[in-house]
Structure formats: structure tokens, C-alpha cells
């Protein structure tokens, strides 16, 4: 499928497939390729197929459209062309066209197997009833009814105990940290704890924490009573009643 690729300073921002409808480019958000830049007119240019050829047309824009660095009002496009609008480039990519045409010629249309569908409300309810019947709802495990807490055993912190209320708990010197560590050489993000559906997981920051004396590798699920060491701070993770 032919497509237009929007790039800014070398990064790809957006790709738009080319079909039968013209593709519009401009500052207004209802364009197919909106570009939020004052150098771009509200409806700046459009690209469309005419008599089998791809054409770019400037829509009387203030600052113009440039094809391969030449200002154009209307011009035919070929694979690899670059349209410059403001500071954004739009590249024409038709490399996949040949394969697609052959494909159309020789094969019957692909069957729509695997068509994505969404359960309706009744089907969802039935599924959850099934789950409750299986008695496996992790949300009802006893840990969820108690308050996860970090208690400080030693080291310089701003409090002696922290309740974990959010999904993300940061341990470090950062102002955003829940457990704020002191000390000139302490990193902003020393470690972090993420809340998942089935419990709390400790992960590394700019330090690799230890749990019960062993450095953690990947994310490590915290159990009641685990001893955590981050730098010179020692904490106990527990579920308070």
C-alpha cells in the first residue's frame, strides 16, 4: 500500500496510507495529517490520485509547499519524493505497491479469519460469574484487605514508616519519591515498587536493591516480612492490619 510518512528532524511522526480519498495536510486538527506549527496554513496542501498518478497540490498556503526543495503549486509525485511543509517533511513511499498488485492478481481475497470482536456486557458478566465459581479471584485474597507498609529499620529517610497508597512508590532522593532518602550521593531514583493485580513488586532504580540479602534480578514480588536494602537504608515490607 502506498503511504505518506510524516517526519520531523529525522523522526517518523505518523504514517498515512493512500487510498481513493485525498489526504489533506494542514494546521487545523481535522486534516488527515495535522501539523501543529505556525508556519503551516490551516489547510495547506493535499495529496491525491489523478488518472493513476499521485499528485501534490498546494492550497494557496502562505509559506508554500516544496517538492524536493522546489516550491510547487501542483506536481506529480513518485516513490521517494519529499514534500517540505514548514519544517516537516512528508515522504512518498510506494515500495510495497508492486507486490500488492501481483497479490491482487493471483490470489483470492484473504478470508477474514481472526476478525477482532468485543464481548458484550452480558458475555462479560457470564465470564466473571464463571471465574467466581472457580473461586480463583485474586482480588479477594486477604492481602488486599490489609495496608501494605514499609517500615524503616536503619538509614536516613524523611519518615519512619510509609503506607503504600499509589500504584508507583519511588525510593530515592527525588522530590517525587514517596520514600525520600537523604545523602549527597544518593540517586534520585534508587528503587521503585509497582502495584500489580496480585501484589507489590520491587524493581531496580539507579541502585540494585537487595531482598533478604540477595540482589534482585528482575522485578521481585514482595512478601510479608521481606527485608529490603537500598544503598544504606534498610526497610521491612509488611501488610499491616
Amino acid at each position: 500500500m502506498s503511504r505518506l510518512v510524516l517526519k520531523f528532524e529525522g523522526s517518523t511522526l505518523k504514517e498515512v496510507p493512500l487510498g481513493n480519498q485525498p489526504v489533506t495536510i494542514g494546521r487545523s486538527p481535522d486534516n488527515d495529517i495535522p501539523i501543529d506549527n505556525l508556519a503551516v496554513s490551516n489547510y495547506h496542501a493535499r495529496v491525491y490520485v489523478e488518472a493513476g498518478s499521485l499528485v501534490v497540490e498546494d492550497l494557496n498556503s502562505l509559506n508554500g509547499s516544496f517538492l524536493n526543495d522546489i516550491r510547487v503549486e501542483r506536481a506529480m509525485l513518485k516513490d521517494g519524493d519529499a514534500i517540505l511543509i514548514g519544517k516537516h517533511h512528508i515522504f512518498v513511499d510506494q515500495t510495497h505497491d508492486v507486490a500488492l498488485i501481483e497479490d491482487t492478481w493471483h490470489k483470492a481475497p484473504a478470508p477474514r479469519v481472526n476478525e477482532t470482536m468485543v464481548l458484550d456486557t452480558r458475555q462479560r458478566r457470564e465470564m466473571f460469574e464463571q471465574a467466581v465459581a472457580a473461586g480463583e479471584r485474586s482480588q479477594l485474597s486477604p492481602d488486599r484487605l490489609r495496608v501494605p507498609t514499609l517500615a524503616v529499620l536503619s538509614g536516613r529517610t524523611d519518615q519512619k514508616e510509609y503506607r503504600l497508597v499509589g500504584k508507583l512508590t519511588v525510593i530515592g532522593r527525588s522530590k517525587m519519591a514517596t520514600v525520600r532518602l537523604r545523602g549527597w550521593f544518593t540517586p534520585n531514583i534508587a528503587a521503585q515498587i509497582n502495584k500489580h493485580e496480585d501484589g507489590y513488586y520491587l524493581g531496580r532504580g539507579d541502585l540494585v536493591p537487595e531482598v533478604n540479602g540477595a540482589e534482585i534480578g528482575a522485578l521481585t514480588k514482595l512478601n510479608d516480612g521481606d527485608l529490603i536494602e537500598v544503598g544504606r537504608v534498610r526497610l521491612i515490607f509488611m501488610y499491616r492490619e
Partner: protein, 270 residues
């Protein structure tokens, strides 16, 4: 913290239409990817509207702090993460209204996975089976939980992961943007570290390419764009049965000042 982004979407080897789309907003540090559904060429309408609505709502909130939050905020995540979830709920309503108003658009919907980065903090929100992965210190972790029938059955323990992989029900979603008047959005956050790579992808990647292949491809790529291109190529080489889209972000350290270098040296020498 510098971010290098690369992205690619491709129709794949079997389908005729690409219903996926993505958009990157470097000025906002916002990355959104969507996989449309509904067939008959309306999937891409849903995914495009969803992505544009999310970007517009976040941009509006950046310009004006008083922009109202749409829907019920999550109490356990930051304001910015709530903003992202709000944008997805708004996109849901917009696609839903359009699908209800126009008989030709009936039944269209989309998945969304969106990442918004402020400083080191990643805000992540999703609906459906498009995924976010974090590659840190050589280990790939899936940050999102699929809203699909098989994944939900695995989570509640009535299906094994092996049964899920073999199931013919993999395309059945339990949540999507635009199919109901309201949608529950999953929102999460994470602190990013220098050296991390973040991947957002549609199921056209995650069903075609294994986790170890994803990890090794990103680790051996010369740039984020190179990683995105190679992941899409790999999905196509492995069959390409669906549209495939990826956004790859590499988190790079800022050039350190003397003071920061001294701290790191001190940290490493104890």
C-alpha cells in the same frame, strides 16, 4: 533523560487494509498506538479518531491546566496519568457516538496503548490487547495486561498460558474503545532509567514474535528506528497474519555534568 523514538506500521502479509495507526508528539513526549476493528474499512476510522482525540485532549490540557478531566479519576496514580486515562475515555465516547450515529460505522472500535513521559516518569494507559513492554537490564517485561478473553481467563486461573496461546478465541476482546458508551481504562506508572527501552505494539507483533526475539532484536539494533523496522520485518517473516505496528523508545542518559559524574563514581566505588 533523552528519548530516541522510532516507529513503523505495516499492513502485514495477509490483510488488505491497515487498520492500525500511531502518532508521536515529540513536543509533548506523547506516544499513542491503536489497532482498529470493525472490518469493511471502518477499523481505521475508529483507530484514527481515537488517536487524534487523545493527542488533542492532552495538548489542550498542556495549554490549559483547567481542562476538565473526563470520567472518574483513578486515586492511585498521578494527575498526568489521570489525564491520559481521561483522554482515552473521551476518545471512547467520540468513537462510540460516531458509530451510533452512522449505520455504516456500527460496530467499529479500537485498542489503545499510550505512553506519556515527563522527566523520568512514564504514564501508561491502555484498553484492549495492544501492549507495552519495558526492556531493562536485558529483561523484557510486559507492562500491560491484555483485555482479551483468553488473557482474563489466564489471570483468574481458569486457563493455562499454553491453552491461551493455542486458543481460537484470541481475537475476542473484553474491552475496546468505542464499542460501549463508557470504558474502563487501565492506568499505570513507572520510573524510567537510562538504558531502558520501551515498546508499544499491536497484537500483530506480539502474536507473531516471541518475547526473546523482541528482546534480542531491540538489544542488537543500531537505533530506535532500526529496532522498529526489524520488529515489523520479523513479524512479516513469521507470517504477518495481521497488521503490525510498533513504537520503540530508547531512554538515553543526558550528558552528565562534573557533579553528576562524581556522584556516579562515588556510588560505584561504594
Amino acid at each position: 533523560m533523552r528519548i530516541e523514538a522510532g516507529a513503523r506500521t505495516d499492513v502485514g502479509r495477509v490483510r488488505r487494509n491497515n487498520e492500525d495507526c500511531y502518532q508521536i508528539q515529540p513536543a509533548l513526549n506523547l506516544y499513542v498506538l491503536s489497532d482498529g476493528m470493525g472490518g469493511e474499512a471502518h477499523g481505521e476510522v475508529a483507530s484514527n479518531i481515537a488517536v487524534e482525540t487523545i493527542i488533542a485532549h492532552c495538548q489542550q490540557a498542556e495549554n490549559s491546566r483547567t481542562t476538565p478531566i473526563f470520567g472518574e479519576p483513578h486515586p492511585d496514580v498521578s494527575e498526568r496519568t489521570n489525564r491520559l486515562a481521561s483522554a482515552i475515555r473521551l476518545a471512547n465516547r467520540k468513537v462510540f457516538e460516531m458509530a451510533s450515529a452512522n449505520a455504516g460505522h456500527k460496530g467499529m472500535g479500537a485498542t489503545i496503548v499510550a505512553a506519556w513521559i515527563e522527566g523520568q516518569r512514564l504514564s501508561l494507559a491502555h484498553v484492549g490487547d495492544s501492549r507495552a513492554y519495558l526492556l531493562r537490564a536485558g529483561t523484557l517485561d510486559q507492562l500491560t495486561a491484555d483485555h482479551s478473553l483468553v488473557a482474563e481467563k489466564v489471570r483468574i486461573g481458569i486457563l493455562t498460558p499454553q491453552e491461551a496461546d493455542a486458543s481460537e478465541m484470541q481475537s475476542v476482546l473484553t474491552r475496546a474503545v468505542g464499542t460501549h458508551e463508557n470504558v474502563e481504562v487501565d492506568a499505570d506508572e513507572q520510573m524510567l532509567l537510562a538504558g531502558d527501552a520501551l515498546l508499544l505494539c499491536s497484537d500483530g507483533l506480539s502474536r507473531m514474535v516471541t518475547d526473546p526475539e523482541i528482546a534480542s532484536t531491540i538489544l542488537t539494533s543500531t537505533s530506535a528506528q532500526n529496532a522498529a523496522d526489524r520488529l515489523v520485518d520479523l513479524a512479516n517473516e513469521n507470517g504477518g497474519v495481521d497488521n503490525v505496528s510498533v513504537i520503540v523508545l530508547r531512554i538515553l542518559a543526558k550528558p552528565e555534568g562534573v557533579l553528576e559524574r562524581l556522584k556516579i563514581w562515588k556510588r560505584n566505588t561504594g
